[in-house]
Structures are given as C-alpha cells and as structure tokens.
C-alpha cells in the first residue's frame, strides 16, 4: 500500500491513559525523539495526585501533551491534533481538548463493559460504536491483544506483558511522524539492563507498533515535520526541575562553594532533590530532613558554615518555613528558597499549576521582612533564574526566593545551553582572620551593597553571636533601642532595593516600545503570552509583551516602561497578585486577567481577552 506523505508545520499530540499505562514515559520518549530531530517543542504533563487512583476511572487518567514543529513553539498547544486514548476514561476526559476532525487512536480493549462502567458511561452507550465520534478520524486498535500476541512466547506473565502496551503506541507514532526508534531502544536497554526479558519485550512491542503502521491500511498518511529554524548552537532537551537543579549546581561550581540542599519531599518540588542527589561528586550535599522546618533550618546552619545553602518546597512547605525565612533575614546570611508553586490554598491541587504564592513570597512573614524574589519563565529559564537567585544571595548576603511552578517544572523544551565560562562570575570573600591587637570584629558592618561580612566559624578572631533578636547596627549586639530598630528595618528594605542596581533592566519581549496595550506577565505563563502577542501583532493590534523575572526588587525601568502604554494588563494564574503590587507600587491602573483552574493559559484565551480589553 502506498502512504501519502504530508508536511506539517506543527503537531500537538496528547497521550492519555490510566496512571499505570506509562503515558508519562511514552510522552517523554517522544519528546526526546522530536528534540533530537531538531524540532522546537513544548510539553505539558498533566497527571493526578494519586499514584494509583482506581484503575479505569476518570480520576486515574494521566495525560502528556507535546507540541512540536518546524516553527518556534512556545506552548504545549491549546488543542491537540491527535489523541491517544488507552481507555474510555482517557477519551472522556480529553476529548474536549481535541480539534474537530482530529485523530483518535483508541485502544479498544480499554472500551470493554468494565471500562465503560468505571468511566460512568451509561449502559447502552459506547463512544466507539454509537457514532458520537463521527466528527473525528477514529482509529480503533486492540493494542492489548496485539501486545499479548507479540509477547506470547516471551515467558512473561500477563501483567508484565500488558505493561508494554505503551511501547506499541510509541512505535506507531514514531512511524507516523517518521522518527527513529533507536534512541528509545537504547533507553529501554539501559533502563532494564538488569532484566533482559523485560527489555526485550518492550523493544519487541515498540517495533510491533512501527510495523503496524507500515503494514496495515489503517494509516494512509505519514507526516513530515522539518527541524525548526532556531538560533545556531548546541541544544538539549530540558525539564524545569532539572534545569533548576543544574542552575544551582552551576552556581555552586562557579562560586567554588559546596552546595547544601535541605528539604522535605513535596509535589512538585521533589524532582529538584532527586536531581541534586545524583551529583554528590560535585560537592552537592542533599539532606532530606524530618520536616519542612528542619529543611530550611539545616540550610541556615550550612549557610552559617559557609556553604551555598538552599531549601526547596512548594506552597504548603513554604508556609512552614516562614519563621525561619525571617531568621535568615535577621541573620543576613545568603539563602535560596526554591518554591515550585502548585494550586492552593492548603493542600489544594498538588499536581496542578498556579502562580498564587507571589504574595506569600512578598509578605508571608511576621514583621517587616523583605526578601529578594526572582521567577523563571520557562523550563530552560529555570537554569538562569536559579543561578541568578544564588548569585544575588551570595553577593548581597540575603535570602532570595526562586519561584517556579508545576507547569514549567514538569514541562520540557529545547535548550541552547550555555558553556560554563559564559556564566556571570560569583566572587566569594569570607571575612579574614584577626589578631588580638586588631579592632574588634563588627559582624554587621556593611559594604556598598549593605551586605555584612560572611564570618565563618573556625576563623580566628571572628568569634561573634548572631540571632533572631533585633541587632544593633554594626556591632550585631542585641538592641531594644527604638531608633535602632527603625534603622534596621529600613536598612533591610534598602538592602533589597539596592539589588535593582545589579540586575538587568526590563526588556520588551515582543512588540513596540510603546503602544495601546502592554501585556505584563511573570513566571510560567511566558509561552502562552508570547504566542498570543505574536498573533495579536500579526493581526495588526498595537500590543507588546514584557515578562518580569525580577519581582523584588523590580527592574529600575519598569515604571517608565509601563508608562509608554495606554493600557497595562497583567495576566496571571491566580486571583490577582502581581497586579496588586504593580498598582500599589506604580499607581498604574493595571487590569487584572486571571485564570484559576489549575491549568495553564491557552493562547487563544489570551488573544480573545486582549481583543476584548482593546475594545
């Protein structure tokens, strides 16, 4: 049979199945294949909080969306072109995200009576049979049966055989999109190197999927998506949490300080710990503490001792760390606090994304307790901003928040990574030894950045005491003097404000320097806002997009930049947080645009909203 080959600019595929169906692995493998081929891409893993929610139910559906193409890609796509549905529940919960006329690859075994019941489909209905999918290009395949047949002689049990199903899907899609399967074969061999039988079975089913596409007449088309025209350079694929870990390690290497990461497992921040714990040979010391508080307190101890000290968590854990962040602010020690945000409040939606911890970072402590705050805008940008957080903390002897979120933490994109010599240097100077004849050491004497000396225990002549009680300026002794307290509160604020002299000015990401509307975003919404802005500009609207990475203090030119636009809109995945601060600080009548559904913005939503605002 002859297959037609069609060239496409970009494609969105959504893999959906039960939590145990291996959809995340399938998605990440496909992502690697697309990345190595040279496509630009963005991904969106979307999975339940339960490790094994009841099999076959809507609650147990795990999804992975990838958008890849020969053009620049900034979002995982508003709607998918292809939906892989391993069962009824997966189809039911993902159908509304599929384009009209899109391809559905349905595993028919997942549409039997039991699965229909588990997905709460009325008894006499079956979407594969009742015509309800007539508006789509439905491909029915009994993947379970084919997988079992392929592995009949493998000697494996049914359970183990059924776990290979996802490889069939991957093989089939590799065929459809003309991607080589060699890298995945290599991956499987290395992952199961201690269990040859399982490795062989997975590879066999992967090849069966490929052959199925080639030999059956079900798929009349194959697609070609050319490599994207991207800036020249060497690329790799990177996920946000991975990039965060690499940024922290890079700061440790560049500052020549060993890194200490004190933390407690929490979704979606745990992968930072997992990643860091692999690199002990880089002098990376990870400490899984008994709780969130011990996570940050151990880091404070490490900072006192002269390490690059970091704690990491998500919103609920940050709440527990609040008092210790106050201590670090009083101690004026360098400390980086990583917050991979998730939907709250309380336990909220642990696996869903949100940007609702900005005010927590700004104000979430007792007393006047200002800190520096930076935020990453994309998976790869986690590297830059994690590095920046460390640089600022060390240069200014100050606690710094690094904000990421579940969406960019788990999302992947191609990254034109820097070589280490291109990273901004970080110079560390500890206070030196003193002799008895020298003047007494003053632990709170400040330099031009208002930073105090970093005086390590073990250094002769520097014996001094620090603590959470208010300090006398310069001497660091306990002081209840009213004027001194006011002075110290102001100094700690000024110390944060001065950081603005050491960070880049705010740029306009896309669009003119002035105009009708400025879209002012921050954090993980970057891709959606960038895509929306490009579309609006192409339709002739006077719209520009600026994305803030330094949130406390803001870049010095931010106020002036906003003043060049008639309207400023602040789209956020929260109930209006940055917009509050912008209004407060700049007295700008900024418009809030909010989505609070645990899901990222779709670019089309943004486009429509901006048109509405432009009137």
């Amino acid at each position: 049979m002859s297959t037609v080959e069609t060239t496409l600019e970009s494609v969105v595929i959504r893999f959906a199945g039960d939590s145990g169906d291996g959809m995340q692995l399938t998605g990440t493998q496909f992502t690697n294949a697309a990345a190595l081929f040279g496509n630009d891409l963005a991904t969106f893993p979307d999975f339940p909080a339960e490790i094994r929610a009841p099999i076959g139910t809507i609650a147990g559906v795990s999804g992975y969306q990838i958008h890849f193409g020969s053009t620049r890609i900034h979002t995982p796509g508003d709607q998918s072109d292809v939906l892989v549905a391993m069962n009824v529940a997966a189809l039911k919960s993902n159908l509304k995200g599929l384009k009209k006329g899109g391809v559905i690859i349905a595993n028919t075994d997942g549409f039997d009576a039991k699965n229909l019941r588990l997905a709460n489909v009325p008894e006499d209905q079956n979407p594969l049979k009742d015509g309800s999918l007539s508006g789509y290009d439905l491909k029915e395949i009994d993947i379970t049966k084919i997988t079992r047949a392929a592995l009949a002689d493998s000697g494996l049990g049914t359970k183990e055989i059924d776990r290979c199903k996802n490889m069939f899907v991957l093989g089939l899609l590799y065929w459809m999109y003309q991607r080589p399967i060699e890298n995945t074969i290599e991956f499987i061999s290395s992952k199961f190197k201690k269990n040859q039988g399982i490795a062989d079975a997975n590879i066999k089913v992967l090849q069966a999927g490929w052959s199925y596409g080639e030999t059956t007449e079900m798929f009349a088309q194959r697609y070609h998506i050319a490599p994207a025209k991207m800036e020249a350079g060497i690329y790799r694929s990177i996920m946000g949490n991975q990039a965060t870990a690499l940024g922290l390690i890079a700061a440790s290497v560049k500052s020549t300080l060993p890194l200490f990461y004190g933390t407690y497992p929490i979704t979606p921040a745990s992968d930072v710990l997992h990643e860091l714990s692999k690199y002990k040979n880089f002098n990376i010391k990870t400490f899984q503490a008994e709780d969130e508080i011990a996570g940050i307190c151990s880091a404070i101890g490490a900072a006192f001792g002269g390490h690059l000290a970091i704690t990491g968590s998500s919103g609920p854990g940050i709440a527990l760390k609040a008092e210790a962040i106050g201590l670090a602010t009083m101690l004026e020690l360098p400390l980086v606090i990583v917050n991979v945000q998730r939907a709250g409040p309380s336990t909220g939606l642990p696996t869903k994304t949100e940007q609702a911890d900005l005010l927590q970072a700004y104000y979430g402590r007792n007393g006047e307790c200002p800190v520096v705050i930076v935020a990453a805008k994309s998976p790869a940008d986690c590297f830059n901003m994690a590095y920046e957080a460390c640089r600022i903390a060390l240069d200014h002897m100050i606690p710094v928040f690094f904000l990421s979120d579940g969406y960019i933490a788990n999302g992947a994109e191609p990254w034109r990574f820097p070589t280490s010599d291109k990273l901004q240097p970080i110079h560390i100077e500890f206070a030196g030894e003193r002799q008895a004849s020298d003047d007494k050491f003053m632990p709170y004497l400040r330099d031009e950045k208002l930073a105090r000396p970093w005086a390590l225990p073990g250094t002769k002549g520097l014996e001094h005491r620090i603590g959470g009680l208010e300090k006398q300026n310069i001497t660091g002794n306990i002081s209840y003097d009213p004027e001194n307290h006011e002075l110290m509160v102001k100094l700690r604020q000024e110390k944060v404000d001065l950081v603005a002299n050491y960070v880049p000015e705010q740029n306009i990401d896309n669009g003119a320097d002035s105009g009708d509307l400025l879209i002012l975003g921050w954090g993980g919404t970057y891709g959606a806002l960038k895509t929306a802005t490009a579309q609006l500009i192409s339709e002739g609207y006077s719209v520009s997009h600026a994305h803030v990475q330094y949130l406390s203090p803001f870049p010095k030119n931010l106020g002036e930049l906003m003043s060049r636009f008639k309207k400023v809109v602040v789209p956020e995945l929260n109930n209006g947080q940055l917009v509050k601060i912008i209004r407060d600080k700049y007295f700008v009548d900024a418009i809030a645009y909010n989505k609070i559904q645990g899901q990222p913005f779709m670019s089309i939503e943004v486009v429509n909203k901006m048109k509405e605002i432009l009137g």
Partner: protein, 341 residues
C-alpha cells in the same frame, strides 16, 4: 617557625555582654561550668559554636565569646545538624530547654538523636516555661498549678531520658546545676563522645518553679534520693550508703546492703541499653512510698554507631572517588545534544 600555644582561661570564653538571667537562676552555674572546662579541651577557641533556640537557657550563646547563634524556638537541633554536617571539624554545641526541645522542637530533637550527628546537647530542664513567665512545660508533673493551669495540669510529663533512649541516642546522661564537679565531669564526657551526647541538666528556676529539684540537692534528702551511677560500680545510695539496687530478673529491687553481699548488687554498665532503659524509668515522684532514687551520671553510651556527619560526608568523598570531580560543562550538556547550524 614556632607554634605558640596560648593557654586559654575561662575568661577567654566570657563575652562582653552582661548576663541577664534572674539572680539565683541555675543557668549561671551551667555557664560557669562550661566556661571552666572549655579551656581544658585543647581546642582553639574559634572552633567552638554554640547554637540555641528560644527560652531562658537559649540566651546562653550571647554570654560565650565563641561563635554562636540564638535561633528560633525549637530549631537549634536542626540548625546545628546543618552546620555540623557541612563543617564536621567544628565543635558544635546545642543549648536547649525542656520547652524548646521536648515541646516545640520535639520532632527535630528525636530525629537528631536517631541520626547521631556529633553534637553536644545541654538540655536545661527546669520543668517550667520561664521566659513566658510561668506556664507548665512538657516535663512539669501532672497536677502542676501554673498561670495557664489554675486547676492543675492534666498533661502527663515526658521522661526525657527514656525518650532519648527510645530515639536511639548514643550518649545519655543526667546531672544537676547544684553539683558543679559532677556537671563538669559529665559535660567533658559528653564532649569526648563521638555522636550526639545528650545531657539533661536539672536546673532550678527560682522564680517560677523554685525547689523543683530540692530533694536531689539539699543535704537532708540528697543522699537518699539520688543514685550516682558510675560505670563498673554497684548501684548504692542512702544517707549512710546503706542501700543498693539489685536486679531480680528484669525487676529492680531496693535492698539493704546488710542483707545482701556486694556481688549480688546491680553493677552499672553504661553500654547495656536494656539496663539503661530500666534505670531511665527510675522516675517516680519522691513522695510515693517505695520509690526509687533518681539516677545521675551516664545512663548509656554507644560507641559503635557511626555519626551522621561522617556518613554524610563519606558519601561525598566516595562519589568523588568513583566518578571524579564533576565537570560542569558535561553536566549542563547532558547525554543527548543536537546541533542547529
């Protein structure tokens, strides 16, 4: 080159800050004993670090001319664990109280003990909240009438020594503010121990809980109410040293020395966890008929458990030996890259 060794004195360990505990507070004695023994430990002054939480006792670091941190309530143990694991060559001390360690910091306290970092912990137990002006603490006896419990506390108290043994502590001892010599000897032993040394110090709060430990310190009762444990020696007590402890199976029994021969007595063995556990339960109210005397000294020592800081840093060294010092550029590039021209 000549290396000059200057003999330090207790004065070298006194900071210029005025000591602000209430006159008559037991804390003064502990401060004095620590300042007395530090010069004898043969260590440069800059290697000592004192970390405290919140409470009267936690003001301690301000009075020591060493490195120090007066941190937040209950967290000194966690901060000290972070410091010691990153700077194992330092001598790190934790100063805490019964509220700080047993109440708000209870979690960090037990986890420190199970991990066993090489820290010296001085637990000032005055069985009351002093700094907040007199509420009952987790070691106050049941029925304690305080500002927050006008009808008496209904809480059962913790038995700190039993708690520490339960958390697999490797050095557990008890001493008294009013016995400077004993205190000095025990603190020195704690310092020498590799691993977390936990020393409970009965400390009188003469303002909010005066006389809590009177029976163990006053001349008239001290000898019958205290049991001074010494490794390898029989457990003997009493006004005339006329009584002893014997083990009847697992059951301790008080005997008159006149009635038994000395080799029938319980010989204290610091390395025996089962026996230490029984001794930790000598915790009766001294008004109860037939109660056991309160033991002082070292309950238990385990020298066979590696310290957390050792294990933690060994992994780093091992990783460097196995994989070589990391190459940042290789790490950033990862395993799979592609080139765009």
């Amino acid at each position: 080159m000549t290396i000059e060794t200057i003999k330090l004195t207790s004065k070298d360990f006194s900071s210029d800050q005025e000591v602000r505990w209430c006159p008559g507070c037991g804390d003064y004695s502990i401060l004095k004993q620590v300042q007395t023994i530090l010069p004898d430990l043969g260590r440069p002054k800059e290697e000592f670090v004192f970390i405290s939480g919140i409470g009267c006792s936690s003001r301690f670091p301000y009075y020591m001319d060493t490195f120090g941190m007066h941190s937040i309530h209950g967290r000194a143990t966690a901060i000290a664990t972070g410091l010691k694991s990153t700077r194992p060559e330092l001598s790190v001390w934790v100063i805490t109280g019964d509220g700080d360690s047993m109440s708000i910091g209870g979690n960090h306290f037990i986890h420190m003990l199970r991990r066993n970092p090489d820290l010296n912990v001085l637990l000032f137990n005055n069985q009351i909240y002093g700094l907040t002006k007199g509420q009952y603490s987790p070691t106050s006896e049941q029925g304690k009438v305080t500002k927050s419990t006008p009808m008496g506390s209904v809480d059962y108290p913790f038995n700190p020594i039993a708690l520490c043994l339960g958390a697999d502590a490797t050095f557990v001892a008890r001493t008294l503010d009013r016995d400077p010599k004993h205190q000095q000897a025990i603190i020195k032993r704690g310092y020498e121990h590799k691993g977390t040394s936990l020393i409970e110090i009965y400390q009188n709060c003469n303002v909010f809980n005066d006389g809590a430990f009177e029976v163990f310190t006053e001349k008239g009762t001290k000898k019958q109410e205290t049991l001074m444990m010494e490794h390898g020696k029989p457990l003997i007590f009493g006004a005339e040293n006329e009584k002893g402890i014997k083990l009847d199976g697992f059951k301790p029994v008080i005997v008159n020395l006149a009635d038994v021969s000395e080799n029938e007595l319980w010989i204290h063995d610091e390395t025996d966890l089962a026996k230490a556990t029984i001794l930790s339960r000598f915790y009766d109210d001294s008004s109860v008929e037939g109660h056991f005397p309160r033991p002082f000294g070292v309950f238990y020592v385990n020298n066979n458990k590696a310290t957390f800081d050792e294990l933690f840093n060994n992994q780093i060294e091992h990783a460097k030996e196995s994989y070589g010092t990391g190459d940042l550029d290789k790490l950033i590039a990862g395993r799979e890259t592609w080139v765009v021209n």
